[in-house]
C-alpha cells in the first residue's frame, strides 16, 4: 500500500512541473480569454430543436395520411358498386360485360389465383434450391456473384419482363406447343421469373441466420452436410422461408404489366395451360383508359378486392413473424 502512495507523490511532483509550463503557455494567450467567453456563453437554442422534432414527426404523419387516403379513395370508389351488385355476384359471376352493366369478375378472380399458384409452383422449389446453394454449397466468391445477379434480376422492371415474354416466350409456346402462345403458361413462366429474387433473397437470409453453432454441433454428431441442412437448418429457417413464399405470392398477385403483355387477357376461366386468361390487375390496366361511370367504379372495386387481398397477406406475414419469434425464443 505504501508503494502506491509513493507513486502518487511522484505523479504530483511531475504535474507541478507541467503546470508551470502550462502557466507560461497561458501567459502568452491573447485571444484565449475571448474564446473562453464564447465557449461559456453559447446557449443551446431550444426553439429550432423542437421545430425540427415536429417537422420530422410530420413526415411520419404524412406517410400515415397517404395510406389512409389510398384506402379511403380506393374503397369509396369501389365499395358502392360492390354493394349494389352484391359481393357474391361481383366476385364469382363470370359475366364481365361493362357495356351491358354486368360486372362479375369471377374469371379474373380465378385467373389471378390460378396464375399466382402456377408461378409459385415452379418458382418456389427452384428459388429455394438456389437459396440453399448460395448459403450452403457455393464457395463464397460464387455466392457473392450470385447475390449480385439475383439483385440484378430483381431490378429489371416488370414491363421489360413482359416485353421479353412477348418476344421470346410467347413465340416459343406458339411454335412448339400450339395456340396463340398468349397463355397461362407464358404468364406463369414470366411471373415465376419475377418472383424468384424475392424467394431467393429472403430464404437465403433466413438460412444464413441459423447460428453456426447449430450446424457445427450437428456435424460433430456425425450428421452429413445434407442431413444437417434437411433436419436442422431448413426447419430452423422455416418461418423465414414461409415469409419468402407469402411475400412472393403478394408480388405475383399484384403484378400487372408483365402479365398483361403475355396472357392474352380473355376474360374467361382458362381450360388449359395454353389458353389465355385475364387477371384482376390486367382488367384494371386494360380498361382504365376509357372506362367511365359504373364501369370505372367496377375497376376500382376490382382494385379494392386486390387491396384487401394484399392486406390479408400482410396480416398473415405479421402473424408468421410473431410465431417465428416465439419459436426462436424457446
Amino acid at each position: 500500500m505504501n508503494g502506491i502512495i509513493e507513486g502518487k507523490t511522484n505523479a504530483v511532483k511531475q504535474h507541478n512541473n507541467r503546470e508551470e509550463k502550462m502557466q507560461i503557455l497561458q501567459a502568452k494567450a491573447g485571444r484565449w480569454e475571448r474564446i473562453l467567453v464564447i465557449l461559456r456563453k453559447s446557449k443551446a437554442r431550444f426553439i429550432p430543436e423542437i421545430l425540427v422534432e415536429k417537422l420530422l414527426m410530420l413526415s411520419a404523419v404524412v406517410s400515415i395520411m397517404a395510406l389512409l387516403l389510398i384506402s379511403v379513395f380506393i374503397f369509396s370508389r369501389g365499395v358502392p358498386l360492390i354493394a349494389s351488385v352484391g359481393l357474391g355476384d361481383f366476385l364469382f359471376s363470370l359475366e364481365w360485360k361493362p357495356i351491358q352493366g354486368k360486372f362479375g369478375i369471377g374469371a379474373m378472380f380465378v385467373g389471378s389465383l390460378l396464375l399466382t399458384s402456377a408461378s409459385l409452383a415452379w418458382a418456389v422449389p427452384l428459388g429455394l434450391l438456389t437459396a440453399i446453394f448460395m448459403a450452403e454449397i457455393a464457395p463464397p466468391p460464387v455466392g457473392r456473384i450470385m447475390t449480385r445477379m439475383v439483385s440484378l434480376l430483381a431490378g429489371i422492371p416488370s414491363v421489360v419482363y413482359g416485353f421479353f415474354g412477348l418476344v421470346i416466350i410467347v413465340p416459343l409456346i406458339r411454335n412448339y406447343l400450339g395456340g396463340t402462345g398468349m397463355s397461362v403458361l407464358a404468364g406463369a413462366i414470366i411471373l415465376g421469373i419475377m418472383i424468384l429474387p424475392t424467394i431467393i433473397n429472403i430464404s437465403r437470409d433466413a438460412i444464413q441466420a441459423v447460428p453456426l453453432v447449430y450446424k457445427e454441433s450437428s456435424l460433430a454428431l456425425g450428421a452429413s452436410h445434407y442431413q444437417t441442412i434437411g433436419r436442422l437448418i431448413l426447419p430452423a429457417a422455416s418461418s423465414g422461408i414461409i415469409t419468402a413464399v407469402v411475400l412472393a405470392m403478394g408480388r405475383a398477385i399484384g403484378e400487372t404489366m408483365a402479365v398483361v403483355m403475355v396472357t392474352g387477357n380473355a376474360p374467361i376461366i382458362p381450360d388449359s395451360l395454353l389458353a389465355p386468361l385475364r387477371t384482376m390487375t390486367s382488367n384494371i390496366v386494360l380498361e382504365m383508359g376509357y372506362a367511365a361511370g359504373d364501369h370505372q367504379a367496377a375497376l376500382f372495386a376490382t382494385g379494392a378486392i386486390l387491396f384487401i387481398f394484399i392486406l390479408l397477406l400482410n396480416l398473415l406475414l405479421n402473424f408468421i413473424r410473431r410465431a417465428g419469434k416465439r419459436y426462436a425464443g424457446n
Partner: protein
Amino acid sequence: MPGTRIGEKALTCLLYLSALIIIGILLAVVGYIVYKGLAMINLDFIMQAPRRAGKEGGISSTIVGTLYLTVLSLAIAAPLGVGTAIHLEEYAQKESYFAYLVTLTAETLAAIPSIIYGLFGFVFFVIYLKLGWSIWSGSLTLAIMVWPTITRTAQEAILSVPREYRENSLALGASKWQTIRKIVIPAAIPGIVTGMILALGRAIGETAAVLLTAGTSLGMPLSPADPARSMSVHLYMLAMEGLSMERAFGTAFLIIILLLFINYLANRSMSFLSHNGG
C-alpha cells in the same frame, strides 16, 4: 450407405443446376435485349422526338419524361423518407403506439401493388386535386411508392451508427439535433444514398402507376404540369400495339442499361461513401 452417397451426389447436381438456371435466365433476358437493342441505339434514336405515335423517330421526349418523373418523385420522397427514418430511430419511443403505426404503414405501403397506386393517383391527384395527367400527378404517386424503400434503408443505416457516437456527442454538450446532423447522418450517408438509388431504379421501371397518372402523351414535357410518357410506358405501348418492335427493343435496351448502371452505383455508393465517411 452407397445409396445415400448417390443420393447426395444427385442433390449436389440439382443444386448446381438450379443456380445455373438462375444465371441462365438473367443472361437470357439481359443478353437478348442488349443483343437486339444495341442495333437500334444511335444518337438520332436518343435525340429525336417520336413521330407517328412512336412508329418513327426517336424517343427523346420519353427520356425527358422519365427524368422529370424520377427526379421530382425522389425530391419529394427523399426528405419525407429520411425524415421518417430519423423520427423513428432517434425521436420516437420504440414501444410507442405511434412508432408501431408508422412501421405498419411503411410495411403496408411497401406491399401495395403498383396498379393500386395507379388507381389512387388517378382518382386523387389527377381527378380530385385536378392536377390532370401530368408529371406532378405521376411524381407524387411515385413518391408515395418509393417512400417505404427510402425509409427502410435509411432506418437501417441510422441504426448501424454506433450508440457511442451519440453518447459522446451529447456528452460534449451537443444538442440532439446537432448530434443527428453532424454525427449520425454523415455516418449513415452511404446507406441513405443507397436507398435513394434503389428508389430511383424503382421509379424508372415503374409502368402501371405512371400510365394511369402521367398519361401517354408523346409531346415534349416542359413543365411539371404537362402530361408525359415515360420510357417504360413507351415500351409497353410500342410492344402491345405492335407499333415498332425495333424501337421497343431500343427502349428496353436503354432502360436495362440505365438500371444496370444504377445497380452498379448502388453497390459502389456503399463502399465508396463509407471509405470517405465523414
